[in-house]
Each structure stands twice: as structure tokens, then as C-alpha cells.
């Protein structure tokens, strides 16, 4: 919840509340393995510390329980932390993570109970519009007639929108991640260092998970792993958490962020084709805010007032030059 804009603070705060009670909200018997061990975000430069403190002021006015901690206090929170060169850090104990497979399963079960048909192993191959109105979704298991489509296909939203002549400025960015063998719990909090551009957490299962992005690679849908990543990740993480040197890496993989020009999502209808709504371009923080975004998308489709304002994320903002600037995003 440690964001630098009111919009993102509220989206993540409300989503956290929903995730805390998801099984009850959805009336399903699924444990999403929510673990709120906090996020620790160390600052290494005066500029970074200044921005973090400004963010804290905003977060605290919005009832987000984040606080400034000294290097010594940071080490008490994360005992393996190397505090050399660290000015301090921000810490929010209510931040956390949960199992995305389990959360998806919970939503799928609740949706099926409401009569939703989910076609698994079915690829959407394109959309079909007539006179600027959405008519069909084309899939590998047949066409689906509809007047409304929510485009939530991540990095693949751009090529799919192009099948009806709509251009959205998204691009995929490859991120790589690794997991270690499981060990006894030693790190409750996730460490997120903007300075080293990495994150590292210990999962409830005991394994450490850590990753970095490749913002400088040419745009592609490549999701292969690289050998360079293992070395680069090891170099960076051992500067922050040198105590992990003895841990065995057992697996690595890669995935795509769906990036937008201002690293914030596109939410809502898009000009040119009626009935096409976009929920994409989350730029790496989509799962975190997905519960409340799902609610907002449903409210918008039904023409109801939305629980939080999201008009600043409309698809036309790039053309108007009204980027949404979030100072605290990886």
C-alpha cells in the first residue's frame, strides 16, 4: 500500500481489505494463503528518502499504517538485511502477499456458482465488430456473440484490440524470477529495493522468491529464462541480503509485465468501438489491486457510480498528454 498517489493508495488499501476477507466475500472455501508480513522499502539516497517521507504523509492521511524506520529498526524487521549505505526505510506491516493461483480459483468458483461459464484451454483469437459495435469474440472453441467485451488479456490486449482496429499503447516487458529451496521462516517481510530494482520475499512454504525486470530489452513476447539473470539476481540480492548466499536456487522462470507509457493501467471504454472496455496495462501491479478493480469494472459496465474514482486511467489520456504520474513504482 506504499504508493505516492492517493488513487493507488486507495486502490491497494481497498483491495487489501477485500483479500483479508476474500473467502467470506465470495462465499467459497478456498484458503488464498494471505500472509501480511509487511513490505520494507529501503532508501539509499536523500532524494529517495525525501520522496518516501512525502509518500508516508499521504499514506497516513489515508489510514495506511506505514512508518519510517531507522536502519537499526529495519534490521530488527529483516534480520538478514545489510544496512550499509541505507538512510532508513519505510515499512507497512499490513502489506503482504497471497497465492495468485488460489485467489483465481476462489473467484472462479464464486463465478461458476453465479452461472458463469469458464472455457478452459480456449484461446481468444480475435474480436469482431460491426458498425463500430462489438459483436463477437472469436475463440479456438467457437465464436461467442456479445455486445460487451472486457479486454483483460495483459500484454496480449494490444494485438487483440488491433483485430477491431483499436490501438492501445501497451507493450510487454520481460521479468525474470527465481525460487530457492525451502528453509525455516527467517524473513516475515518482503524487501523491495527501488535502488537495486529488486524484490525478495520468503513464501509461507519456506522458499525465497526474488525477481528483477529487463526494461532495456527490445519489445517481445519472449518468456524464456536467461542464464545472465541468475548471476545478475545473485549479485544484486547478496548486496541487500548477504545471508542468503548459502541458499540453493532450484528453479527460474520468466513472465511479461503489460506496460503502459505511464506504468498505470488503462481502465474503461475505448474510443472507436462501442462495447469494448479495457482493463489492462497494469505494469506489474495488477494482481495487487485486482479485487477492487474487478468491482469497479463491473460497476462501470452497469453504469453505476464506482466505489473509487478511476477516470484518470481512461484510454484517451496518452493522446491528451495527461499521463498519470506515480512517483513510487517499480
Amino acid at each position: 500500500m506504499q504508493w505516492g498517489t492517493e488513487t493507488n493508495c486507495l486502490l491497494s488499501r481497498e483491495s487489501t481489505h477485500m483479500l483479508e476477507n476474500l473467502a467470506e466475500l465470495l462465499e467459497v472455501d478456498v484458503d488464498i494463503e494471505l500472509h501480511q508480513g509487511g513490505y520494507l522499502m529501503p532508501a539509499y539516497t536523500e532524494k529517495m528518502a525525501g520522496q518516501f517521507k512525502k509518500n508516508l504523509e499521504l499514506q497516513n492521511t489515508l489510514d495506511i499504517p506505514a512508518r519510517w524506520v531507522t536502519p537499526q529498526e529495519a534490521k530488527e524487521i529483516v534480520p538478514l538485511l545489510n544496512t550499509d549505505g541505507m538512510i532508513g526505510a519505510t515499512f507497512c506491516a499490513k502489506d503482504g502477499h497471497c497465492n495468485p493461483f488460489k485467489a483465481t480459483e476462489a473467484y472462479a468458483r464464486a463465478a461458476r456458482r453465479l452461472g458463469v461459464e469458464i472455457r478452459t484451454y480456449t484461446e481468444v483469437t480475435g474480436l469482431y465488430a460491426e458498425c463500430c459495435n462489438i459483436r463477437k469474440v472469436k475463440t479456438t472453441t467457437g465464436d461467442i456473440s456479445t455486445s460487451h467485451v472486457v479486454m483483460a488479456a495483459g500484454g496480449y490486449s494490444k494485438p487483440l484490440c488491433r483485430t477491431v482496429g483499436v490501438e492501445i499503447p501497451l507493450y510487454p516487458e520481460r521479468h525474470e524470477i527465481l525460487v530457492t529451496e525451502p528453509v525455516d521462516p527467517v524473513q516475515e517481510a518482503m524487501v523491495m529495493s527501488f535502488h537495486h530494482n529488486l524484490y525478495c520475499q520468503q513464501s509461507p512454504h519456506g522458499s525465497f522468491i526474488m525477481g528483477i525486470g529487463h526494461p532495456d530489452l527490445p519489445e517481445s513476447f519472449d518468456t524464456r529464462s536467461s542464464w545472465e539473470f541468475l548471476q545478475e539476481m545473485a549479485r544484486r540480492v547478496l548486496k541487500v541480503l548477504p545471508g542468503l548466499a548459502g541458499l540453493n536456487v532450484i528453479r527460474q522462470w520468466a513472465g511479461l509485465y503489460d506496460m503502459s507509457p505511464d506504468r498505470q493501467p488503462i481502465l474503461g471504454p475505448v474510443g472507436g468501438v462501442d462495447g469494448l472496455h479495457i482493463a489492462a496495462g497494469f505494469s506489474g501491479h495488477g494482481f495487487m489491486i485486482s479485487p477492487v478493480v474487478g468491482r469497479i469494472v463491473a460497476e462501470k459496465l452497469l453504469g453505476l457510480p464506482t466505489v473509487l474514482p478511476v477516470d484518470m486511467f481512461d484510454a484517451g489520456r496518452f493522446q491528451r498528454g495527461e499521463l498519470f504520474i506515480e512517483p513510487s513504482v517499480v
Binding site: E105, T180, S225, W227, A234, G246, R251
Partner: protein, 91 residues
């Protein structure tokens, strides 16, 4: 085979759990892996996945050869983070 037999030695998954997930509709190795961590340990499913494939074959009527195995990932053998930076001083 007894239901209590351990199928995935890395993650301690019993045959009865695998059968339970298949009964609930998980009909691919990827779905079973995501539900219970079977095959996500250091050996990456070298022991358990042939057994899971057999169970899926029995449940779906497909031959074992048609059951797709999960992606095998780098590194082939586990390696310590410290070892990965071990040569840095020599460059």
C-alpha cells in the same frame, strides 16, 4: 498402489491427494502442480510426474504418452546463490 504412498518426495504429496485433485476436475499435470505443489521441489517432478501421468491416463482414458508434462526449468541442478557470484573477483 496404496492411497497413502508418497508420490512427490520433495513436497510430501500423497497419492490420495493427487486422486482427490483429479476427481475435482484437474485433468492436466500443470493444474495438479498449481493446486498442490506436486513437482515443484528440487527434483522438478522427476519422480512424481510419471506417476501423476499414469493417474491422469487412468482418469481421462488418454494414453500416458499423450499426457503433457510440466515445463522443466533451469537450473538443471540446484546451485547456491553464493556460487553464482563466486567468479566475480576473477573477471
Amino acid at each position: 498402489m496404496s492411497d497413502d504412498i508418497i508420490v512427490c518426495r520433495c513436497e510430501d504429496i500423497k497419492l490420495s491427494e493427487i486422486r482427490g485433485h483429479i476427481e475435482q476436475g484437474a485433468h492436466t499435470t500443470e493444474e495438479i502442480k498449481r493446486r498442490c505443489r506436486c513437482g515443484m521441489g528440487p527434483c522438478q517432478g522427476r519422480t512424481c510426474m510419471p506417476i501423476v501421468a499414469q493417474e491422469l491416463s487412468k482418469a481421462t482414458g488418454k494414453s500416458v504418452g499423450e499426457i503433457q508434462l510440466p515445463t522443466f526449468r533451469q537450473p538443471t541442478a540446484a546451485i547456491k546463490l553464493g556460487a553464482l557470484t563466486g567468479g566475480d573477483g576473477d573477471d
